[in-house]
Protein backbone atom coordinates (compact mmCIF):
# COMPACT_ATOMS: atom_id res chain seq x y z
CA UNK A 1 0.00 0.00 0.00
CA UNK A 2 1.28 3.42 -0.85
CA UNK A 3 0.33 6.59 0.93
CA UNK A 4 -1.03 9.19 -1.49
CA UNK A 5 -2.18 11.93 0.88
CA UNK A 6 -0.04 12.65 3.90
CA UNK A 7 -1.07 15.38 6.32
CA UNK A 8 1.17 16.28 9.22
CA UNK A 9 0.13 18.66 12.00
CA UNK A 10 -1.81 20.85 9.61
CA UNK A 11 -2.91 24.16 11.12
CA UNK A 12 -5.10 26.96 9.82
CA UNK A 13 -5.97 29.99 11.91
CA UNK A 14 -8.26 32.91 11.12
CA UNK A 15 -7.21 35.55 13.63
CA UNK A 16 -7.24 33.76 16.98
CA UNK A 17 -9.61 31.11 15.76
CA UNK A 18 -8.13 27.71 14.93
CA UNK A 19 -10.33 26.42 12.12
CA UNK A 20 -8.02 23.41 11.67
CA UNK A 21 -5.93 22.56 14.71
CA UNK A 22 -2.81 20.50 13.97
CA UNK A 23 -4.47 17.50 12.36
CA UNK A 24 -2.54 14.52 10.98
CA UNK A 25 -3.74 11.63 8.83
CA UNK A 26 -2.83 9.50 5.83
CA UNK A 27 -4.86 8.26 2.91
CA UNK A 28 -3.81 5.17 0.94
CA UNK A 29 -3.81 5.02 -2.82
CA UNK A 30 -7.14 3.78 -4.17
CA UNK A 31 -8.89 4.24 -0.86
CA UNK A 32 -12.34 5.76 -0.40
CA UNK A 33 -11.80 8.03 2.57
CA UNK A 34 -14.70 9.67 4.41
CA UNK A 35 -14.04 12.92 6.21
CA UNK A 36 -16.93 13.58 8.58
CA UNK A 37 -17.76 16.21 11.14
CA UNK A 38 -20.48 18.62 12.29
CA UNK A 39 -20.97 22.00 10.62
CA UNK A 40 -17.96 24.22 11.11
CA UNK A 41 -15.66 21.34 12.08
CA UNK A 42 -13.04 22.43 9.55
CA UNK A 43 -13.57 19.92 6.74
CA UNK A 44 -13.83 22.40 3.89
CA UNK A 45 -10.93 24.41 5.27
CA UNK A 46 -8.80 21.24 5.25
CA UNK A 47 -9.80 20.48 1.67
CA UNK A 48 -8.96 24.04 0.63
CA UNK A 49 -5.46 23.60 1.99
CA UNK A 50 -5.06 20.25 0.25
CA UNK A 51 -6.24 21.70 -3.07
CA UNK A 52 -4.00 24.81 -3.13
CA UNK A 53 -6.84 27.29 -2.55
CA UNK A 54 -5.54 28.40 0.85
CA UNK A 55 -2.08 28.28 2.35
CA UNK A 56 -1.77 26.45 5.68
CA UNK A 57 -0.68 28.47 8.70
CA UNK A 58 1.63 25.60 9.63
CA UNK A 59 2.12 21.91 9.00
CA UNK A 60 2.93 19.81 6.00
CA UNK A 61 0.88 18.21 3.25
CA UNK A 62 2.10 15.76 0.63
CA UNK A 63 -0.26 15.06 -2.21
CA UNK A 64 0.92 12.42 -4.65
CA UNK A 65 4.50 13.43 -3.85
CA UNK A 66 3.97 17.20 -4.03
CA UNK A 67 3.45 19.83 -1.38
CA UNK A 68 0.48 22.02 -2.49
CA UNK A 69 1.92 24.98 -0.61
CA UNK A 70 5.34 24.69 -2.26
CA UNK A 71 4.57 23.29 -5.73
CA UNK A 72 0.93 24.17 -6.35
CA UNK A 73 1.21 23.65 -10.11
CA UNK A 74 2.51 20.09 -9.76
CA UNK A 75 0.00 19.29 -7.04
CA UNK A 76 -2.90 20.50 -9.21
CA UNK A 77 -2.10 17.83 -11.79
CA UNK A 78 -2.96 15.14 -9.25
CA UNK A 79 -6.47 15.98 -8.19
CA UNK A 80 -9.96 16.96 -9.20
CA UNK A 81 -12.59 18.44 -6.94
CA UNK A 82 -16.32 18.91 -6.58
CA UNK A 83 -16.80 21.91 -4.34
CA UNK A 84 -19.30 22.21 -1.55
CA UNK A 85 -20.80 25.36 -3.03
CA UNK A 86 -21.44 26.38 -6.58
CA UNK A 87 -18.56 26.86 -8.99
CA UNK A 88 -20.24 26.75 -12.40
CA UNK A 89 -20.32 29.60 -14.87
CA UNK A 90 -23.99 30.57 -14.93
CA UNK A 91 -23.74 32.41 -18.22
CA UNK A 92 -22.38 29.42 -20.11
CA UNK A 93 -24.34 26.35 -21.19
CA UNK A 94 -24.01 22.98 -19.49
CA UNK A 95 -22.03 21.69 -22.43
CA UNK A 96 -19.68 24.68 -22.42
CA UNK A 97 -19.02 24.26 -18.71
CA UNK A 98 -18.01 20.66 -19.37
CA UNK A 99 -16.03 21.47 -22.50
CA UNK A 100 -14.00 24.26 -20.92
CA UNK A 101 -13.28 22.12 -17.88
CA UNK A 102 -12.05 19.33 -20.13
CA UNK A 103 -9.84 21.77 -22.02
CA UNK A 104 -8.36 23.23 -18.85
CA UNK A 105 -7.55 19.70 -17.74
CA UNK A 106 -6.15 18.82 -21.18
CA UNK A 107 -8.47 15.88 -21.85
CA UNK A 108 -7.97 15.07 -25.58
CA UNK A 109 -10.91 16.09 -27.73
CA UNK A 110 -12.37 12.69 -28.80
CA UNK A 111 -12.18 11.33 -25.24
CA UNK A 112 -13.50 14.61 -23.88
CA UNK A 113 -16.56 14.63 -26.10
CA UNK A 114 -17.22 10.96 -25.47
CA UNK A 115 -17.09 11.47 -21.71
CA UNK A 116 -19.14 14.67 -21.78
CA UNK A 117 -21.92 12.82 -23.56
CA UNK A 118 -21.66 9.84 -21.23
CA UNK A 119 -21.67 11.99 -18.08
CA UNK A 120 -24.40 14.39 -19.14
CA UNK A 121 -26.57 11.40 -19.99
CA UNK A 122 -25.64 9.84 -16.68
CA UNK A 123 -26.82 12.89 -14.70
CA UNK A 124 -29.81 13.27 -17.04
CA UNK A 125 -28.85 16.64 -18.41
CA UNK A 126 -28.06 15.60 -21.96
CA UNK A 127 -31.27 17.08 -23.39
CA UNK A 128 -30.52 20.33 -21.54
CA UNK A 129 -26.92 20.50 -22.69
CA UNK A 130 -27.37 23.71 -24.67
CA UNK A 131 -29.27 25.55 -21.96
CA UNK A 132 -27.66 28.20 -19.82
CA UNK A 133 -26.80 27.02 -16.34
CA UNK A 134 -28.65 29.98 -14.85
CA UNK A 135 -31.89 28.36 -15.99
CA UNK A 136 -31.17 25.16 -14.01
CA UNK A 137 -32.68 24.13 -10.68
CA UNK A 138 -30.45 23.67 -7.64
CA UNK A 139 -30.38 19.90 -8.07
CA UNK A 140 -29.57 20.15 -11.76
CA UNK A 141 -26.68 22.49 -11.03
CA UNK A 142 -25.43 20.07 -8.41
CA UNK A 143 -25.58 17.18 -10.87
CA UNK A 144 -23.69 19.20 -13.44
CA UNK A 145 -21.01 20.06 -10.88
CA UNK A 146 -20.55 16.37 -10.18
CA UNK A 147 -20.49 15.43 -13.85
CA UNK A 148 -17.86 18.09 -14.45
CA UNK A 149 -15.76 16.83 -11.54
CA UNK A 150 -15.80 13.31 -12.99
CA UNK A 151 -14.72 14.40 -16.45
CA UNK A 152 -10.95 14.19 -16.24
CA UNK A 153 -10.34 11.11 -14.03
CA UNK A 154 -7.71 12.47 -11.64
CA UNK A 155 -5.50 10.42 -9.33
CA UNK A 156 -7.26 11.88 -6.30
CA UNK A 157 -10.84 13.09 -6.35
CA UNK A 158 -12.07 15.43 -3.61
CA UNK A 159 -15.82 15.49 -3.10
CA UNK A 160 -16.99 18.11 -0.59
CA UNK A 161 -20.57 17.16 0.22
CA UNK A 162 -21.15 16.08 -3.38
CA UNK A 163 -24.69 14.83 -2.91
CA UNK A 164 -25.94 17.84 -0.94
CA UNK A 165 -29.56 18.52 -1.85
CA UNK A 166 -29.97 15.55 -4.19
CA UNK A 167 -32.77 12.99 -3.97
CA UNK A 168 -31.93 9.48 -2.68
CA UNK A 169 -32.15 7.85 -6.13
CA UNK A 170 -29.64 10.27 -7.60
CA UNK A 171 -27.37 9.92 -4.59
CA UNK A 172 -27.22 6.14 -4.96
CA UNK A 173 -26.69 6.43 -8.66
CA UNK A 174 -23.77 8.79 -8.20
CA UNK A 175 -22.12 6.76 -5.48
CA UNK A 176 -22.27 3.65 -7.67
CA UNK A 177 -20.50 5.54 -10.40
CA UNK A 178 -17.84 6.92 -8.03
CA UNK A 179 -17.16 3.50 -6.50
CA UNK A 180 -16.84 1.96 -9.94
CA UNK A 181 -14.33 4.65 -10.97
CA UNK A 182 -12.36 4.04 -7.82
CA UNK A 183 -12.22 0.29 -8.46
CA UNK A 184 -11.56 0.38 -12.17
CA UNK A 185 -8.98 3.14 -12.19
CA UNK A 186 -7.57 2.93 -8.68
CA UNK A 187 -8.74 6.47 -8.10
CA UNK A 188 -8.46 7.76 -4.53
CA UNK A 189 -11.67 9.35 -3.23
CA UNK A 190 -11.64 11.87 -0.40
CA UNK A 191 -15.16 12.91 0.51
CA UNK A 192 -17.20 14.71 3.12
CA UNK A 193 -20.89 14.24 3.73
CA UNK A 194 -23.55 14.75 6.35
CA UNK A 195 -25.45 11.65 5.20
CA UNK A 196 -24.02 9.03 7.54
CA UNK A 197 -25.49 6.14 5.59
CA UNK A 198 -23.51 7.24 2.53
CA UNK A 199 -20.30 7.17 4.49
CA UNK A 200 -21.15 3.85 6.11
CA UNK A 201 -21.92 2.24 2.74
CA UNK A 202 -19.02 3.56 0.72
CA UNK A 203 -16.02 4.53 2.84
CA UNK A 204 -13.10 2.19 3.36
CA UNK A 205 -11.96 4.35 6.21
CA UNK A 206 -13.32 7.37 8.05
CA UNK A 207 -11.91 10.30 9.98
CA UNK A 208 -14.21 12.26 12.25
CA UNK A 209 -13.43 15.87 12.89
CA UNK A 210 -14.85 18.25 15.46
CA UNK A 211 -13.79 21.77 16.45
CA UNK A 212 -10.75 21.61 14.20
CA UNK A 213 -9.32 18.34 15.51
CA UNK A 214 -9.69 14.72 14.44
CA UNK A 215 -11.43 12.84 17.22
CA UNK A 216 -11.30 9.39 15.62
CA UNK A 217 -10.15 7.66 12.46
CA UNK A 218 -10.73 4.05 11.54
CA UNK A 219 -12.87 1.68 9.49
CA UNK A 220 -16.62 1.87 9.99
CA UNK A 221 -16.64 -1.46 11.87
CA UNK A 222 -13.91 -0.39 14.27
CA UNK A 223 -15.56 2.95 14.91
CA UNK A 224 -18.80 1.21 15.83
CA UNK A 225 -16.95 -1.35 17.91
CA UNK A 226 -14.99 1.25 19.85
CA UNK A 227 -18.03 3.36 20.58
CA UNK A 228 -20.24 0.30 21.16
CA UNK A 229 -22.83 1.52 18.72
CA UNK A 230 -24.99 -0.10 16.06
CA UNK A 231 -24.44 2.23 13.18
CA UNK A 232 -22.18 5.04 12.04
CA UNK A 233 -24.65 7.77 12.87
CA UNK A 234 -24.76 6.68 16.52
CA UNK A 235 -20.96 6.42 16.59
CA UNK A 236 -20.69 9.87 15.07
CA UNK A 237 -23.02 11.44 17.60
CA UNK A 238 -21.23 9.75 20.44
CA UNK A 239 -17.83 10.93 19.26
CA UNK A 240 -18.78 14.50 18.45
CA UNK A 241 -20.88 14.69 21.59
CA UNK A 242 -23.74 16.63 20.07
CA UNK A 243 -26.24 14.32 21.70
CA UNK A 244 -25.03 15.18 25.18
CA UNK A 245 -24.66 18.84 24.39
CA UNK A 246 -28.21 19.03 23.14
CA UNK A 247 -29.61 17.37 26.25
CA UNK A 248 -27.86 19.46 28.83
CA UNK A 249 -27.50 22.73 27.05
CA UNK A 250 -29.28 25.84 28.18
CA UNK A 251 -30.66 28.55 25.98
CA UNK A 252 -27.45 30.45 25.26
CA UNK A 253 -25.64 27.24 24.36
CA UNK A 254 -28.36 26.47 21.89
CA UNK A 255 -28.08 29.91 20.40
CA UNK A 256 -24.35 29.54 20.08
CA UNK A 257 -24.66 26.19 18.41
CA UNK A 258 -27.21 27.42 15.99
CA UNK A 259 -25.05 30.38 15.11
CA UNK A 260 -22.09 28.13 14.51
CA UNK A 261 -24.14 25.91 12.28
CA UNK A 262 -25.39 28.94 10.43
CA UNK A 263 -22.02 30.58 9.81
CA UNK A 264 -20.41 27.23 9.09
CA UNK A 265 -22.94 26.46 6.41
CA UNK A 266 -21.92 29.35 4.19
Amino acid sequence: MTIIIQVDRLLKTYGDFKAVNEISFNVQKGEIFGFLGPNGAGKTTTIKMLTTLTRPTAGKVTLDGHDPAVNPNEARHSFGIVFQDQSLDDELTAWENMEYHGMLYAVPKPLRHQRIEELLKFVELWDRKNDFVKTFSGGMKRRLEIARGLLHHPTILFLDEPTLGLDPQTRNHIWNYVCRLSKEEGMTIFFTTHYMQEAEDNADRIAIMDHGVIVAQDTVEKLMQNTQTENLEAAFLKLTGNELREENSNHTDNMRMRRRAWTGRR
Binding site: T51, T52, Q86, E91, Y100
Partner: protein, 248 residues
Protein backbone atom coordinates in the same frame (compact mmCIF):
# COMPACT_ATOMS: atom_id res chain seq x y z
CA UNK B 1 -2.16 27.51 -24.23
CA UNK B 2 -5.57 25.89 -23.81
CA UNK B 3 -6.11 27.91 -20.67
CA UNK B 4 -5.54 31.22 -22.45
CA UNK B 5 -8.02 30.23 -25.15
CA UNK B 6 -10.65 29.05 -22.68
CA UNK B 7 -10.49 32.18 -20.59
CA UNK B 8 -10.45 34.44 -23.65
CA UNK B 9 -13.40 32.68 -25.26
CA UNK B 10 -15.37 32.79 -22.05
CA UNK B 11 -14.92 36.56 -21.65
CA UNK B 12 -16.09 37.04 -25.21
CA UNK B 13 -19.17 34.87 -24.78
CA UNK B 14 -20.13 36.54 -21.54
CA UNK B 15 -20.01 39.94 -23.18
CA UNK B 16 -21.77 39.01 -26.40
CA UNK B 17 -24.57 37.17 -24.62
CA UNK B 18 -25.53 39.95 -22.30
CA UNK B 19 -27.63 42.33 -24.33
CA UNK B 20 -28.05 44.65 -21.37
CA UNK B 21 -24.30 44.89 -20.98
CA UNK B 22 -23.77 45.68 -24.66
CA UNK B 23 -26.49 48.32 -24.81
CA UNK B 24 -25.37 49.81 -21.50
CA UNK B 25 -21.75 50.12 -22.48
CA UNK B 26 -22.64 51.50 -25.92
CA UNK B 27 -25.20 54.04 -24.77
CA UNK B 28 -22.83 56.07 -22.65
CA UNK B 29 -20.24 56.96 -25.30
CA UNK B 30 -22.99 57.73 -27.79
CA UNK B 31 -24.73 59.99 -25.34
CA UNK B 32 -21.50 61.85 -24.66
CA UNK B 33 -20.75 62.13 -28.33
CA UNK B 34 -24.16 63.48 -29.29
CA UNK B 35 -24.83 65.66 -26.25
CA UNK B 36 -21.38 67.17 -25.93
CA UNK B 37 -20.55 67.10 -29.61
CA UNK B 38 -23.60 69.02 -30.69
CA UNK B 39 -23.95 70.95 -27.43
CA UNK B 40 -20.46 72.37 -27.12
CA UNK B 41 -19.64 72.27 -30.83
CA UNK B 42 -20.68 75.86 -31.59
CA UNK B 43 -18.88 77.28 -28.53
CA UNK B 44 -15.74 75.33 -29.34
CA UNK B 45 -15.80 76.59 -32.93
CA UNK B 46 -16.43 80.17 -31.79
CA UNK B 47 -13.44 79.95 -29.46
CA UNK B 48 -11.32 79.08 -32.46
CA UNK B 49 -10.92 75.38 -31.67
CA UNK B 50 -12.29 74.12 -34.97
CA UNK B 51 -14.61 71.16 -35.34
CA UNK B 52 -15.45 69.79 -31.88
CA UNK B 53 -16.69 66.40 -33.10
CA UNK B 54 -13.26 65.86 -34.63
CA UNK B 55 -11.60 66.71 -31.34
CA UNK B 56 -14.06 64.80 -29.18
CA UNK B 57 -14.34 61.47 -31.01
CA UNK B 58 -10.89 60.06 -30.16
CA UNK B 59 -11.48 61.06 -26.54
CA UNK B 60 -14.86 59.34 -26.39
CA UNK B 61 -13.44 56.19 -27.97
CA UNK B 62 -10.69 56.19 -25.35
CA UNK B 63 -13.21 56.72 -22.59
CA UNK B 64 -15.50 53.91 -23.71
CA UNK B 65 -12.56 51.52 -23.98
CA UNK B 66 -11.27 52.49 -20.56
CA UNK B 67 -14.63 52.05 -18.83
CA UNK B 68 -15.39 48.70 -20.41
CA UNK B 69 -11.85 47.39 -19.93
CA UNK B 70 -11.74 48.25 -16.24
CA UNK B 71 -15.21 46.86 -15.85
CA UNK B 72 -14.40 43.50 -17.43
CA UNK B 73 -11.29 43.28 -15.27
CA UNK B 74 -13.18 44.00 -12.08
CA UNK B 75 -15.81 41.48 -13.27
CA UNK B 76 -13.67 38.89 -11.54
CA UNK B 77 -15.38 39.83 -8.29
CA UNK B 78 -18.51 38.10 -9.62
CA UNK B 79 -16.53 34.98 -10.41
CA UNK B 80 -15.35 35.03 -6.84
CA UNK B 81 -18.88 35.56 -5.60
CA UNK B 82 -20.46 32.89 -7.81
CA UNK B 83 -17.64 30.42 -7.38
CA UNK B 84 -16.33 30.00 -10.91
CA UNK B 85 -13.01 31.50 -9.83
CA UNK B 86 -12.37 28.44 -7.63
CA UNK B 87 -12.91 26.12 -10.57
CA UNK B 88 -10.22 27.90 -12.56
CA UNK B 89 -7.80 28.33 -9.65
CA UNK B 90 -7.51 24.59 -8.99
CA UNK B 91 -7.04 23.68 -12.67
CA UNK B 92 -3.63 22.24 -13.56
CA UNK B 93 -2.55 25.25 -15.59
CA UNK B 94 -0.25 28.12 -14.64
CA UNK B 95 -2.23 30.96 -13.14
CA UNK B 96 -0.32 33.33 -15.39
CA UNK B 97 -2.09 31.73 -18.37
CA UNK B 98 -5.49 32.01 -16.74
CA UNK B 99 -5.05 35.66 -15.97
CA UNK B 100 -3.50 36.44 -19.33
CA UNK B 101 -6.39 34.80 -21.18
CA UNK B 102 -8.82 36.74 -19.07
CA UNK B 103 -7.04 40.01 -19.78
CA UNK B 104 -6.83 39.25 -23.47
CA UNK B 105 -10.56 38.52 -23.53
CA UNK B 106 -11.40 41.78 -21.80
CA UNK B 107 -9.08 43.70 -24.10
CA UNK B 108 -10.61 42.11 -27.21
CA UNK B 109 -14.11 43.03 -26.12
CA UNK B 110 -13.13 46.61 -25.27
CA UNK B 111 -11.28 47.06 -28.56
CA UNK B 112 -14.31 45.76 -30.45
CA UNK B 113 -16.44 48.31 -28.70
CA UNK B 114 -13.94 51.05 -29.53
CA UNK B 115 -14.19 50.15 -33.22
CA UNK B 116 -17.99 50.25 -33.11
CA UNK B 117 -17.96 53.64 -31.39
CA UNK B 118 -15.60 54.86 -34.11
CA UNK B 119 -17.97 53.67 -36.84
CA UNK B 120 -20.97 55.24 -35.11
CA UNK B 121 -19.15 58.53 -34.68
CA UNK B 122 -18.59 58.57 -38.42
CA UNK B 123 -22.35 58.48 -38.80
CA UNK B 124 -22.47 61.48 -36.45
CA UNK B 125 -20.12 63.41 -38.71
CA UNK B 126 -16.63 62.39 -37.70
CA UNK B 127 -14.09 62.14 -40.54
CA UNK B 128 -10.77 60.35 -39.93
CA UNK B 129 -7.81 62.09 -41.48
CA UNK B 130 -6.79 59.05 -43.50
CA UNK B 131 -8.13 55.54 -43.96
CA UNK B 132 -4.58 54.17 -43.96
CA UNK B 133 -4.01 55.34 -40.41
CA UNK B 134 -7.04 53.46 -39.07
CA UNK B 135 -5.19 50.17 -38.40
CA UNK B 136 -2.74 52.11 -36.24
CA UNK B 137 -5.62 53.71 -34.36
CA UNK B 138 -7.04 50.24 -33.71
CA UNK B 139 -3.65 49.13 -32.45
CA UNK B 140 -3.65 52.03 -29.98
CA UNK B 141 -7.18 51.07 -28.94
CA UNK B 142 -6.00 47.56 -28.17
CA UNK B 143 -3.10 48.91 -26.13
CA UNK B 144 -5.44 51.12 -24.10
CA UNK B 145 -7.81 48.18 -23.67
CA UNK B 146 -5.05 45.85 -22.49
CA UNK B 147 -3.69 48.44 -20.09
CA UNK B 148 -7.00 49.07 -18.38
CA UNK B 149 -8.09 45.42 -18.36
CA UNK B 150 -4.86 44.63 -16.54
CA UNK B 151 -5.58 47.53 -14.20
CA UNK B 152 -9.10 46.25 -13.53
CA UNK B 153 -7.83 42.71 -13.04
CA UNK B 154 -5.30 43.90 -10.49
CA UNK B 155 -8.11 45.63 -8.60
CA UNK B 156 -10.40 42.60 -8.97
CA UNK B 157 -7.70 40.35 -7.53
CA UNK B 158 -7.47 42.26 -4.26
CA UNK B 159 -11.06 43.47 -3.88
CA UNK B 160 -13.26 40.91 -2.13
CA UNK B 161 -16.66 42.37 -2.91
CA UNK B 162 -18.30 44.91 -5.17
CA UNK B 163 -18.68 47.65 -2.53
CA UNK B 164 -15.21 49.03 -3.14
CA UNK B 165 -15.94 49.52 -6.81
CA UNK B 166 -17.83 52.77 -6.28
CA UNK B 167 -14.74 54.23 -4.60
CA UNK B 168 -12.53 53.16 -7.46
CA UNK B 169 -14.93 54.71 -9.95
CA UNK B 170 -15.14 58.04 -8.15
CA UNK B 171 -11.53 58.43 -7.13
CA UNK B 172 -9.67 56.80 -9.99
CA UNK B 173 -11.75 56.18 -13.08
CA UNK B 174 -13.58 59.50 -13.36
CA UNK B 175 -10.48 61.64 -12.60
CA UNK B 176 -8.52 59.67 -15.19
CA UNK B 177 -11.27 60.38 -17.68
CA UNK B 178 -11.46 64.12 -17.00
CA UNK B 179 -7.69 64.59 -16.92
CA UNK B 180 -7.09 62.67 -20.12
CA UNK B 181 -7.93 65.60 -22.37
CA UNK B 182 -10.76 63.57 -23.86
CA UNK B 183 -13.30 66.37 -23.49
CA UNK B 184 -11.23 69.55 -23.58
CA UNK B 185 -7.65 70.54 -24.39
CA UNK B 186 -5.43 70.69 -21.32
CA UNK B 187 -3.22 73.51 -22.68
CA UNK B 188 -4.79 76.28 -20.69
CA UNK B 189 -5.08 74.45 -17.42
CA UNK B 190 -2.90 75.29 -14.39
CA UNK B 191 0.55 73.71 -14.50
CA UNK B 192 -0.22 71.61 -11.46
CA UNK B 193 -3.17 69.97 -13.19
CA UNK B 194 -1.07 69.27 -16.24
CA UNK B 195 1.51 67.51 -14.07
CA UNK B 196 -1.21 65.31 -12.64
CA UNK B 197 -2.51 64.65 -16.14
CA UNK B 198 0.97 63.49 -17.14
CA UNK B 199 0.46 60.56 -14.74
CA UNK B 200 -2.78 59.57 -16.45
CA UNK B 201 -2.30 56.67 -18.89
CA UNK B 202 -5.47 57.61 -20.77
CA UNK B 203 -3.90 60.97 -21.61
CA UNK B 204 -1.29 59.20 -23.76
CA UNK B 205 -3.91 56.88 -25.21
CA UNK B 206 -6.16 59.73 -26.32
CA UNK B 207 -3.18 61.69 -27.62
CA UNK B 208 -1.95 58.75 -29.72
CA UNK B 209 -5.43 58.19 -31.09
CA UNK B 210 -5.80 61.85 -32.06
CA UNK B 211 -2.52 61.53 -33.87
CA UNK B 212 -3.78 58.66 -36.02
CA UNK B 213 -7.40 59.74 -36.34
CA UNK B 214 -7.22 63.52 -36.84
CA UNK B 215 -3.52 64.04 -37.41
CA UNK B 216 -3.15 66.41 -34.45
CA UNK B 217 -1.37 65.57 -31.23
CA UNK B 218 0.43 67.08 -28.29
CA UNK B 219 3.28 64.73 -28.10
CA UNK B 220 5.29 62.52 -30.35
CA UNK B 221 3.08 59.53 -31.10
CA UNK B 222 6.01 57.16 -30.74
CA UNK B 223 6.57 58.39 -27.22
CA UNK B 224 2.84 58.02 -26.46
CA UNK B 225 2.91 54.42 -27.58
CA UNK B 226 6.13 53.67 -25.73
CA UNK B 227 4.63 55.01 -22.51
CA UNK B 228 1.37 53.10 -23.04
CA UNK B 229 3.25 49.88 -23.74
CA UNK B 230 5.47 50.30 -20.69
CA UNK B 231 2.54 50.91 -18.37
CA UNK B 232 0.64 48.00 -19.95
CA UNK B 233 3.52 45.61 -19.33
CA UNK B 234 3.92 46.82 -15.78
CA UNK B 235 0.20 46.39 -15.09
CA UNK B 236 0.13 42.97 -16.78
CA UNK B 237 2.91 41.94 -14.43
CA UNK B 238 1.27 43.39 -11.33
CA UNK B 239 -2.15 42.01 -12.28
CA UNK B 240 -0.74 38.50 -12.86
CA UNK B 241 1.21 38.61 -9.63
CA UNK B 242 -1.82 39.67 -7.59
CA UNK B 243 -3.97 37.06 -9.33
CA UNK B 244 -1.47 34.31 -8.62
CA UNK B 245 -1.66 35.13 -4.93
CA UNK B 246 -5.46 34.92 -4.59
CA UNK B 247 -6.60 32.73 -1.71
CA UNK B 248 -10.18 31.71 -1.20
Amino acid sequence: MNAIYVMWMRQLKRYLRSKARIVGSMAQPLLFLVALGFGFGPIYAKAGGGNYIQFLTPGIIGMSIMFLAIFTGVDMIWDREFGFLKETLVAPVPRSQLVFGRMLGGATVATGQGIIVLLLSMVAGFRPVSIWQLPFAVMVMFLIALLFTAFGTAIGSVMEDIHGFQLITNFLVMPMFFLSGALFPLDNLPTFVRYVAACDPLFYGVDAMRSFLIGVAHMNVGLDIAILATISFALLGIGSWLFSRIEL
